[in-house]
């Protein structure tokens, strides 16, 4: 979840709220989610754990594979659970086995968890990812949360200077979110746009800069090199920046998502994943494989196309949803 501790206490407009309220920007949203979570766990117990036998493990594997968790991660999780049951560490009782499974899945999903770092002045976030995965929309949503709910001033950098109308798209999100926009000409150097945005933010004393980048396939090594360069140029403004480099992964993505995360991480050293489009029927199980294999945690999830449709990542909810019908 977004940890805004230090930021918020410096911000006058929210000072009156109690500490607990301030820390959890997404608290309200989380409460509404927990209802659906209950419904989900009930569903799981009904279908998956009628009895514990050979078939149980097979059905479990099937559920995880269908959620896109991938064969290796699925095998590892199910083996571990089966072993625990065989060893008597977990009683062979449907409800208990179910709870333990969710625990294991949540534990794996939580690998490498850390809050989003907004301590920089300004804090610089960079969004990267494959074409159409939801970078620009996510930036709009994050900007809205930071500015409307936290009272922070946000500058967006239109670093996608390649795709037609990409800057216009981000401009519209900036308008909706009440953020400033810094853009360059079409075809301009994306590093230069990011650089200018950060200097503008510093001049204005803005709190957060979010850099959009053009979608690219991880197999295009020249474009991956371009991305590393953008990151280096940003570091010329502020050595620790970008403080957060996030990759957007579309929840419908299959096993290729693991390659995406790996190659992007080699190029720009990812801090986290934004798992988008979870409002569809896809479970986004590839994020489990990404956490297990690469130690890159999900930090936020996207659940729709409006400003409000962003949520903190809750490993237990995610784990339960992976197994739901």
């Amino acid at each position: 979840m977004i940890d805004l501790g230090s930021r918020v206490s410096a911000n006058a407009s929210t000072e009156a709220e109690p500490e607990a309220e301030r820390r959890g920007v997404f608290k309200r949203l989380r409460e509404s989610l927990s209802k659906s979570r209950q419904a989900l766990t009930e569903e799981i117990s009904a279908s998956l754990f009628d009895r514990i036998d050979e078939e149980t493990w097979e059905r479990l594997e099937e559920a995880l594979i269908l959620a896109d968790a991938g064969a290796p991660t699925t095998a590892a999780v199910v083996e571990r659970l089966e072993h625990e049951v065989d060893a008597g560490e977990v009683p062979a009782d449907g409800a208990l086995v179910r709870d333990r499974l969710i625990e294991i899945l949540a534990e794996v999903a939580a690998t490498g968890r850390a809050p989003i770092d907004l301590s920089g002045e300004p804090a610089v976030l960079m969004m990267v990812g494959v074409n159409g995965t939801g970078k620009t929309t996510t930036i709009g949503k994050i900007a809205w949360h930071l500015s409307k709910e936290m009272g922070l001033s946000v500058v967006l950098a239109a670093g996608d200077t390649y795709r037609a109308a990409a800057a216009e798209q981000l401009a519209e999100w900036a308008r909706r979110a009440g953020a400033d926009l810094v853009r360059g000409e079409e075809g301009a150097d994306p590093g230069a746009v990011a650089f200018d945005a950060i200097s503008a933010a510093r001049a204005r004393g803005a709190d957060v800069v979010i850099v959009d980048t053009a979608g690219r396939l991880h197999t295009q090594s020249n474009l991956m090199e371009e991305l590393s360069k953008v990151k280096r140029v940003i570091a010329k403004q502020i050595p620790e920046a970008p403080h957060e480099t996030l990759i957007s992964i579309d929840a419908t993505t299959g096993q290729n998502g693991l390659r995406q995360a790996k190659v992007f991480s080699e190029a720009v050293d990812l801090d986290g994943v934004v798992l988008t489009k979870l409002d569809g029927t896809a479970k986004g199980g590839i994020a489990l494989a990404i956490a297990a294999d690469l130690g890159i945690p999900v930090k936020l999830i996207g659940v729709g196309e409006t400003l409000e449709d962003l949520r903190p990542f809750d490993p237990a909810e995610y784990a339960a949803a992976l197994l739901a019908e």
């Binding site: 494959v130 074409n131 216009e168 090594s221 299959g254 096993q255 290729n256 569809g280 196309e305």
Partner: protein, 454 residues
């Protein structure tokens, strides 16, 4: 991980011949490998189940046992069955007898519809058709602007009425306009939508009803996982699509979604979108996709790409030079340039069968920066040096290193590798394939694979 399906099948079934009997458990073991390979390629779980069942029957009934190499034999059967399931070649778009041919595009958010519209428009432009595109995505910010820009780039006329009008009205109006303007083709772009969004799905069937398209195309991202089946089924119901456009096939996803969609809806995959440029759009080849899903490479595509870059005469000259040992660094530079024109090397290597099994190349990217360096070094040589690398002595090396912004070691390395390569080329040109060790030497040396683990 499963690139080596054929290797693994071969080892799974290696002792079958010596035992002289193919047992049910042998076949089960083989099926397990195949099942994993297909799942790794994102073929839907349920499709995999049915598929391996059919396959098992065929393997048990066939002459696998008697063949010299049961592993290879099974791979061959898998490939055949997959290709059959993917559908034969030759599916075409339906065209109108008179008036504009209407093509409706639909799909999830971010699948690549807008780009596919412009690519399809260019495809028709090349056939001398007059193309219009209707801008019905009024939801995503700046979607209309994007379509206007790339539609016009493709030489199509874009019918747009901003974002305040209703998409169904826009589609109807655009069709009238296209008739008045006597267009040959009208492509209708729609907003991306979730298959479970009832409002938007019924909007889509409204557009369909009002425009009576000759073809409805579902746009599917090649990276889609298990959910592809549910998505395709829902769109089949609401939009009754006739065919599929697979996008982002220039990546390294195995594209099992293609198989899943075909298997559950029976609709053919008509086009493959393979890049961000409007020209990157081809007819889909089911047989090649089968090999790709199995990680057996896409040799045919590679050959076609290579043919487009190298002309016949040039190729013969080169071969002659190789055989006679007259291949120079200048030739090498030209070769390297034309190979790189085919796209990033890591992509090309992925298309080669068996490369997956080579440890050094697997999961490795070719360092394009290294290739840039090699180019720079050669460019800093005089024509005489390029023709006769043997003359490059110490002071020349220093000059070349300075000129190319590299170090003397880099120049040394290049010259040494070039020597090795000449030897290998001579034997290849004389009809001998290089052995694995030679290949490994070369790949371990020249463009060094960059494997970094987190």
């Amino acid at each position: 991980m499963f690139d080596q399906l054929s290797d693994r099948l071969q080892s799974t079934l290696s002792d079958v011949r010596s035992r002289g009997k193919l047992s049910e458990s042998d076949v089960d073991a083989a099926m397990r490998e195949i099942r994993l390979a297909l799942l790794e390629a994102d073929v839907n779980f349920k499709v995999v189940k049915t598929f391996t069942k059919t396959l098992k029957e065929r393997c048990l009934g066939s002459g696998v046992l008697n063949s010299l190499d049961p592993g290879q034999q099974v791979v061959k059967i898998v490939n055949e069955e997959l290709a059959a399931l993917m559908g034969g070649t030759g599916s075409e778009l339906a065209m109108a007898h008179s008036g504009p041919t209407v093509i409706l595009m639909a799909g999830l958010q971010g699948s690549g519809k807008t780009t596919a519209c412009a690519k399809l428009a260019l495809h028709f432009k090349k056939l001398n058709k007059d193309v219009g595109i209707a801008a019905c995505d009024v939801y995503r910010p700046a979607a209309v602007e994007q379509l206007v820009t790339i539609g016009e780039r493709a030489g199509a006329h874009v019918y747009e009425r901003g974002t305040d009008a209703d998409p169904v009205d826009i589609a109807e109006w655009a069709l009238q306009q296209a008739r008045t303007d006597r267009r040959d083709v009208l492509i209708v772009d729609t907003a991306g939508r979730l298959h479970i969004d009832q409002d938007l799905m019924s909007e889509l069937s409204q557009i369909r009803k009002k425009t009576k398209p000759h073809d409805v195309l579902l746009v599917v991202d090649a990276m889609t996982g298990q959910d592809a089946v549910g998505v395709a089924e829902s769109f089949a119901e609401a939009a009754e699509f006739d065919g599929v456009v697979m996008t982002k096939l220039d990546g390294d996803a195995r594209g099992g979604a293609a198989l899943s969609v075909k298997a559950v809806t029976g609709k053919p995959i008509l086009f493959a979108s393979t890049g961000e440029k409007l020209e990157d759009f081809d007819k889909f080849h089911p047989d090649r996709m089968a090999s790709r899903i199995l990680g057996m490479g896409d040799v045919l595509s590679l050959i076609e790409k290579a043919e487009a870059q190298v002309d016949e005469k040039q190729a013969q000259d080169l071969q002659e030079k190789m055989r006679k040992d007259q291949f120079t660094l200048e030739d090498f530079l030209q070769q390297m340039k034309s190979v790189r024109k085919m796209g990033p090397l890591s992509g090309i290597i992925g298309m080669l069968p068996g490369m997956g099994a080579m440890k050094q190349l697997k999961n490795a990217d070719i360092d394009e920066g290294e290739l840039d360096r090699v180019e720079a070094i050669i460019l800093s040589m005089t024509p005489a040096e390029r023709a006769e690398p043997g003359m490059i002595n110490g002071s020349r090396r220093k000059r070349i290193a300075n000129g190319s912004g590299t170090r003397v070691q880099n120049v040394n390395q290049l010259v040494k590798q070039f020597d090795q390569m000449r030897v290998m080329m001579r034997s290849m040109a004389n009809g001998k394939m290089p052995d694995a060790q030679q290949m490994a030497q070369l790949s371990g040396a020249a463009p060094r694979p960059k494997v970094r683990r987190r």
